[in-house]
Symmetry: C2
Subunit: 237 residues, 2 copies
Amino acid sequence: MTHQSPRLYLFPVPLAEGAPADVLPARNLELLKQIRYFAVENLRSARRFLRAVSHDIVIDELSLVELNEHTDPADVAAMLAPMQEGHDMGVISEAGCPAVADPGADLVAVAQRRGYEVVPLVGPSSILMSLMGSGFNGQSFTFLGYLPVEAGRRNAMLREIERDIRRNRRTQIFIETPYRNNRLIDELVRALPGDMLLCVASDITGPRQSIVTAPLSRWAKGGYDYSKIPTIFLLYS
Amino acid sequence: MTHQSPRLYLFPVPLAEGAPADVLPARNLELLKQIRYFAVENLRSARRFLRAVSHDIVIDELSLVELNEHTDPADVAAMLAPMQEGHDMGVISEAGCPAVADPGADLVAVAQRRGYEVVPLVGPSSILMSLMGSGFNGQSFTFLGYLPVEAGRRNAMLREIERDIRRNRRTQIFIETPYRNNRLIDELVRALPGDMLLCVASDITGPRQSIVTAPLSRWAKGGYDYSKIPTIFLLYS
């Protein structure tokens, strides 16, 4: 496709194994077949995704460049070269939505500076879906990414989380390295009031999906194991 | 469908006119055909949505109860009665994702307390899609809902927004009553530094979709009109 004003399409990718059509609208799959230039978080997983989308896509005829945490920021702007020639481009992350808790925002920022049209597409987001399923306030919320690792700063952050919930009624959302999930719950149980509500949302859209909201006093009793499962945490009271 | 443990499905709804399949995965459309009990934000728009999903859905055979800002909180729990009898239920908002900047969270909270399985589905969210398209930080962000209307509190909030961007590198997302969109941009231009970046995302997924990021100094020059168009605002620097 060649327009007067080329477009940068942001393609979400499934979070779990399974048919792309279960979590992506048909329009995304149609658009994917029409684009030849992609910036992708990981070459191997992007090729696997494109093969799952349609056998009509001839991967070898596509131009894929890698864009991730190893990319030199100085190289990002040059990735948009095909758009200067009038071609549409697509961004594909490893899982979930490009540019949200994932690389891609830098590339979008360059596209915005150059006045290109940016077109985000619908797809699965563990942040949004866990918030929907938590029962917590969806009128006001904060996504914090990872909590700080260093003990002092981590504790200060937990105090700030507690204050922001009480003062602003704002849902707090954060993630953890999967092998530390159980330890994080244990830590929240010890650091925060027992009547505060914790929602643990794991394997979103996957076969073992589970979204459980309960007071920290109930999490204190154990009986869970989220070790190594992609999980997102939400606090509210 | 009747399970041992009934499910509460959260069905996103298109944000703009057009075919549901453009913004909703095929799985959502299949599930909608199998559910008979719904809590909906607005009866008329829910019926219109279900008709657009499939002619196979016989609306008159469904049980729809209204759940919105006029609902007495004391009546929310009773809406889950079909689940007590083992039936799955669905939640449908007027546009976008149930329970996120939309009613539904109270009902989900009751379902969580009763231990029912809650299943959020994929769909369009102007919050998430505008964040993707803005080029701003997607590793840390806050959705504030509407800014306060009263001048003093509104000004204090703008100061807090400025501080949170500088200190925590956190993208700030908020909405405005559509007829006041232009006035809000004018206000941001006057209250915040000219080099701060404002993204204005309007008519997301609609025919006039536009997502534009520029410094406030450029917004100061005018040349826009978002009056009465559903629009979302993002700040970052």
